[in-house]
């Protein structure tokens, strides 16, 4: 398990030694959903240039992105929730990228990998270059480098995990209006008085 993200997000993971015998965990819905969600990110293979080589390298055995539960690179946006834009985005590809982003199911995140995807990089102001993928889709994490090493991409993925874990599913109630959701469900509906 990652030791960087839980401390920073304020969430603590149960350790394996807690389960040496039958045991019970009490936790919150926020914790369990964000924990599961941040460790089962399906990246969308969006390699546009040489950064894609580093992205693929991070998937192979030497670096092995599977350690973070993110090894399932999918070639279709329908099955993905993370788009790693790895490479130069040009004007001809920009509408395609937007469309594929729109086809991804919520919740979804975008990592801008490398100088080109972040700002155009060495091709800044080129006649057919989009100066940063954030001109087209909203970006959650920027990974610098040209290209970034797999370790740098992992740093970006860990930052994204922190961001995912900060999401809260349970809406906060105003003070004084606290009602147990279970009680609210089980309480009998008021029966209107019969008119006789």
């Amino acid at each position: 398990m990652s030791d960087a993200s839980p401390a920073r997000s304020g969430l603590r993971y149960p350790k394996l030694e807690h389960f040496s015998e039958p045991n019970v965990i009490t936790t919150t819905a926020d914790f369990i959903f964000s924990w599961a969600r941040s460790h089962s990110v399906f990246p969308f293979t969006y390699g546009l240039a040489c950064c894609a080589i580093e992205m693929l390298s991070s998937g192979f055995a030497r670096y092995d992105v599977a350690r973070y539960g993110m090894e399932v690179f999918r070639p279709t946006p329908r099955q993905c929730d993370l788009m790693i834009v790895a490479g130069t985005l040009n004007e001809k590809m920009a509408p395609v990228l937007k469309r594929l982003y729109d086809q991804m199911a919520e919740p979804k995140w975008v990592i801008s990998m490398g100088a080109c995807a972040t700002s155009g990089g060495p091709f800044y102001d080129g006649y057919n270059v989009v100066n940063g993928v954030d001109k087209v889709v909203p970006v959650d994490v920027y990974v610098p480098g040209c290209p970034p090493r797999p370790e740098a991409l992992f740093q970006g993925l860990l930052e994204l995990q922190v961001k995912i874990q900060q999401h809260r599913f349970v809406a906060e109630r105003p003070a004084g209006a606290a009602v147990s959701p279970v009680a609210a469900v089980e309480a009998p509906a008021p029966v209107p008085a019969e008119e006789s």
């Binding site: 004007e91 001809k92 920009a94 102001d125 006649y127 057919n128 989009v130 100066n131 001109k135 087209v136």
Partner: protein, 164 residues
């Protein structure tokens, strides 16, 4: 029959002399530039006919088109054909000068079908219009791109950058 790679039965000077002898009316400035490359120029009006004859020549026939390049030489535009002969294992580099204002030349897709996409690219980037080309569309840039970016006088346009 193709030769073993790298072998050439003719001297480069002999190939150049043969080009002058057989195609002297069309080609000019014939010279040996590399150990395996002859460079020549020709007029754009003679290109189509010359291409067919170059390909069919029995001894130095240039059967294969390697690529078509478009170059902006500022004073004029050049369409350059790199063709290869399996009979001699050598290259011919054929330069055709075109005026800037009217960069048009006959297509050679009828002779070398490989020219199709190369001429589309030269049209896309340098704006050379290949007359008689079966499908002269842009190949790399988007269809509504304005201008030809590898022209020296190209200025980057706002229209080409909708995502700002």
């Amino acid at each position: 029959m193709a030769l073993e790679i790298g072998t050439n039965p003719m001297e480069m000077d002999a190939i150049a002399a043969r080009l002058v002898a057989d195609f002297g009316d069309e080609v000019r400035d014939v010279r040996v530039q590399e150990p395996d490359t002859v460079v020549a120029r020709c007029d754009k009006s003679a290109l189509k006919d010359l291409a067919a004859r170059l390909k069919g020549h029995p001894e130095i026939g240039y059967e294969t088109l390697n690529f078509v390049a478009g170059v902006d030489k500022v004073k004029h535009i050049e369409s350059i054909y790199h063709v290869y002969s399996w009979k001699t294992n050598t290259y011919l580099e054929l330069h055709v000068e075109l005026p800037r204002g009217k960069a048009e030349v006959d297509t050679v897709t009828g002779v070398w079908p490989a020219a199709d996409w190369h001429e589309r690219e030269a049209w896309d980037m340098v704006g050379i219009k290949y007359l008689g080309h079966p499908d002269l569309r842009r190949i790399l840039l988007k269809d509504d791109f304005v201008g030809h970016p590898l022209r020296k006088d190209y200025v980057d346009l706002v229209e080409n950058h909708p995502h700002v």
